[in-house]
């Protein structure tokens, strides 16, 4: 194992170790220290370190591990957790079988960031809530029990689903919204057995412990995701992202949709939203409603209303209660060609 003491003893800045293992086992061992963290593309973690939001004592660089393959395995597409966002988006298998994922990736960040960011890192990125980033303001996610600055503050970008008194932040990823819609499975190594977690259960709601974004345990490593191939969905899928500028902006809301049609009837459907919750938000009620129904504007509208049934706003984000259903309807209209 390559071990670099990043800074010498008389280190000028907060000291941290940096190791770059080449095997999964060594990586898992290296990351056992309480304040050790994996780093891959670093597109979020380095920012967090600069701002003092995260202060790891050891960085375990996993980019030396062989985890960037993209391949078809039976009825699934396997994507290694170190596959770059830009590579996944442009990969022939992904464009052919999972165009929704390709679209979602293209909608995220900027080309420069996509060239650095990995699939696993994308899943692990933290919220972009301004209170989370500013050490001089309260944030339960950053500093448990310090309060939530956003709830009564500036919450235009914040959640309308599944928030708690402790936290109303949203998960910023586009990629994850597509993976949640496509019923992906997360593959997790922990040194013993490979754990498989349905993608929609990987991230968690804030509840009483918003400092935890997901259900990954300490000492576990995401090795990849598996996405079932569905030829019908590949024919009819669309990612719509509404944002304040055309690129390099987080979603106000986004919708990932995939349809399987039987004539005018919806045989099967997947719907998920981004920018609305602490995790990619599957619209299961709307999906259930639309199954076996005709693809009509009235049904789409009804489904969007059902999807918003449990939505709540906090002031600045009230517009999302209108924008979210409108975007669902717009996406379904476009997909169904009406």
């Amino acid at each position: 194992m390559l071990l670099v003491k990043w800074l010498k003893k008389e280190a000028p800045v907060i000291n941290f170790d940096y190791v770059k293992p080449t095997t999964e086992q060594n990586a898992l061992t290296a990351c056992k220290d309480p304040l050790a963290q994996f780093i891959a593309g670093g597109t979020n973690l380095v920012d967090l370190m600069k701002r003092g939001v995260t202060n790891p004592e050891k960085l375990v660089d996993i980019t030396g591990l062989p985890m960037s393959n993209i391949e078809q395995k039976g009825d699934n597409i396997f994507i290694g957790s170190l596959a770059l966002n830009s590579v996944v988006a442009e990969h022939e298998l992904i464009k052919k079988h999972l165009p929704l994922l390709s679209q979602a990736l293209q909608a995220g960040a900027s080309p420069q960031i996509r060239n650095m960011a990995t699939v696993g890192g994308n899943m692990m990125q933290r919220t972009r809530c301004g209170y989370f980033y500013d050490l001089s303001m309260p944030c339960n996610k950053r500093t448990p029990n310090s309060g939530c600055g956003a709830k009564e503050g500036y919450n235009r970008m914040h959640a309308i689903f599944g928030a708690s008194d402790k936290c109303i932040a949203v998960h910023p990823s586009d990629m994850c919204v597509a993976l949640a819609a496509l019923d992906a499975t997360v593959l997790i190594a922990n040194g013993k057995l490979l754990r498989r977690v349905p993608f929609k259960d990987f991230h968690k709601l804030p509840g009483s412990n918003p400092e935890k974004d997901n259900n990954l345990l300490k000492g576990e490593l995401i090795t990849g995701v598996e996405v079932p191939i569905n030829a019908a969905f590949a024919q009819h899928s669309l990612y719509t992202k509404i944002r304040d500028r055309a690129s390099y902006a987080f979603a106000l809301v986004s919708v990932a949709a995939a349809l399987e049609m039987n004539g005018k009837t919806i045989k099967d459907i997947r719907l998920a939203m981004g920018g609305v919750a602490h995790k990619p938000w599957r619209l299961t009620t709307a999906e259930q409603f639309l199954k076996s129904k005709e693809a009509t504007p009235a049904n789409f509208k009804q489904a969007a209303m059902l999807a918003l049934k449990d939505a709540t706003s906090y002031g600045h984000n009230q517009f999302k209660l209108t924008l979210a259903p409108n975007t669902i309807v717009h996406t379904l209209h476009t997909l169904a060609g009406i």
């Binding site: 800045v13 301004g130 390099y248 902006a249 517009f319 975007t327």
Partner: protein, 740 residues
Amino acid sequence: MGNYFFDSATVFEELDRVDGKAKVTGQAKYSAEYEMPGLAYGVIVGANISKGTIAAIDINAAEKAPGVLGVVTHLNITKPAGYIAADATKPAAVRGLKVFDDNVIHFNGQPIALVMADSFERATHAASLIKAQYNKETFSTGLEQAMKDEKPLEGNQYKESIRGEKDAWKNAAVKVEGTYTMPNQVHNPMEMHATTVKWEGDDKVTVWEKTQGVKSTQRDIMQAFALTEKNVQVNTLYVGGGFGAALRTWPHAMAALIGAKKIGKPLKVVLTRMQMFTLVGYRPEAIQKIAIGADNDGKLIGMMHEANAVTSNYENFTENIVKMTRALYSCANVTTKYNVYPVELSTPTWMRGPGEATGSFPLECALDELSYQLKMDPIELRLKNYAETDPENGKPYSSKFLKEAYQLGADKFGWKDRHPIPNTMMENGWKVGVGMSTGIFGAFRNEAKLGLKLMADGTLIMQTAVSDSGPGTATAMTKIAADAMGLPYNKIKFELGDSSLPPGPTQGGSSSTSTVGAAVSTGCVTLQKKLAEAAKSSPVFGHIVAVENFLFQNGEMVLKTDPTKKLSYSEVLKNAGMTSIEFIENSGRNPAMEKYSAYSYAVHFVKVLVHPLTGVVKIAKAVVAGDAGKIVSPKTAKSQMIGGVVGGIGGALMEESVIDERYGRWINNNFADYHVPVHADVPAIEAVFVDKPDPILNPVGSKGMGEIALIGFAAAVANAVYHATGKRIRELPITPDKLI
């Protein structure tokens, strides 16, 4: 495009930006890029309260941190002479925030300490160890709250100004009224502000500073430290964008000067992107009320424009927000009022199109609204109220080709295809709208001294202490001199960014080309006279010495009556036994301008697409037609207009400062969350010019351009959005949430 814009008989290739190659190849050195032995790095620590006093500040841990060379706070500062007023009746020489002067906190992020170390990383770490305790006081950072709780500043500049009858608009047949809001906007040039300081002893200093005013920065430093002019050297060879943010000598620069003196080492201080939001100004938030009355034919009867804006609690910042309403249209009865409220933010500053960019939003939206009420084309309404003389003082214009700009822009845009009824046009499921507006900005010319050196090899060197924050000043000056002297571009060198050069103006208020260009133009005339004088010694011209007898072309003096008789400039010098001709040209305002009003104009045309379900607005097309006098350097002129429109897209659709008023702290002080346009937001922008010289302002015939490129653009977008949707958005930026 070629030489479309030229009316010159001489055919030149379109001149590329003379410093373009240096900029895009990384050869251009900016203020943060000067390395020198022993260079130390300074990091500014900001207060995290908005108002109050520092009760205690602990710098022990920082001082003991590895590599730290020193820490400056209000407790250990050696105050520069300029902090202290000579007597109680006079203000101190250093204006604005005197950094580390006392323990009073005026705004969140105000510098409370400068930490200096042998590396940037060590300084950054040590800065994080500074701990302050405060006595907090209540504060306000938002204009709306301040308007409820506070009284505006008093003074003559804030008094209601009435032309004609105050309430005339109220009695008009057709009326529009509205309240318009605009958030704080931040300049955010790509290059962060940076100051590198090197003291030589106690009374001599060299500073590499990001500034739009080389001489003004030099003056500020002289006054602050009681130094002589020759002992303060300011260098600003390149500026990576200014937009007004580099018009002042800001507290971080003073901190760098104070800190470098303390540690006796050269020191570099570079602001972080976050500090760019709090330490170098911003365009102040404004809430404006406007009311316009017209008769049934569209003739304006009366206008009322009240602007409310913020300033800091330690300095009064005012700009021309309501002036445009008094100047643009012929209207006998105009009442304006400008209220300024101090809040717990740093002092705002001029930002591209200062004042007018803010004021044009309500004015040009209201005109648009009026046009719909009158069922009249918006351009026709403007032509109906076209001012042939300055409505404020009756003076004639030095030049005004706004009518021509309306025509030129309308033709280029295809305005005649506009459907007069809003909310009627669709393309591929998007609502379509077109809108236009007018921008106006005063045309100015200031004083400049220009050094000219014609060298033995026929090269012309020009020198003046200006900086170029982006418009391409050196390029325009090269073009003027090339035309005047008949020299190829590569024989001309324009040197700037050095305070020891002959004094030039600050680059602001769209005046550089008029001011420095005038000096170049008259300087070349002087040079021609001196060449003719020197040619006395050249037998080829016989006894003819009067300059009128010569043409100056292709680097040669040519006898008009016998073009076979000619001499290169080098030969003229050689024959006269001279190694060079060197002199300083003084250029000032044209006294004849007393009798005139001078303005530049822009007409913006915008086509927008608005998504009916999601409220997304796309700018599909933008055309800007300018009356900026004679266009000196077509390529850089076009670029400058395009850049202004890109800035305008930001202001119209996305730029919004967000401050949590409970904490007085910024929420979106970074480039991920404070949105400026990306390429995907910017359509092909067409910039066209009337290109007719102003015969009076300056000998070049140019007027200003930098400001008008942006002024009025937000209104054109809002007007297009109205045309697309029938919704009048009076609150910037026009984000999707406002259209669903």
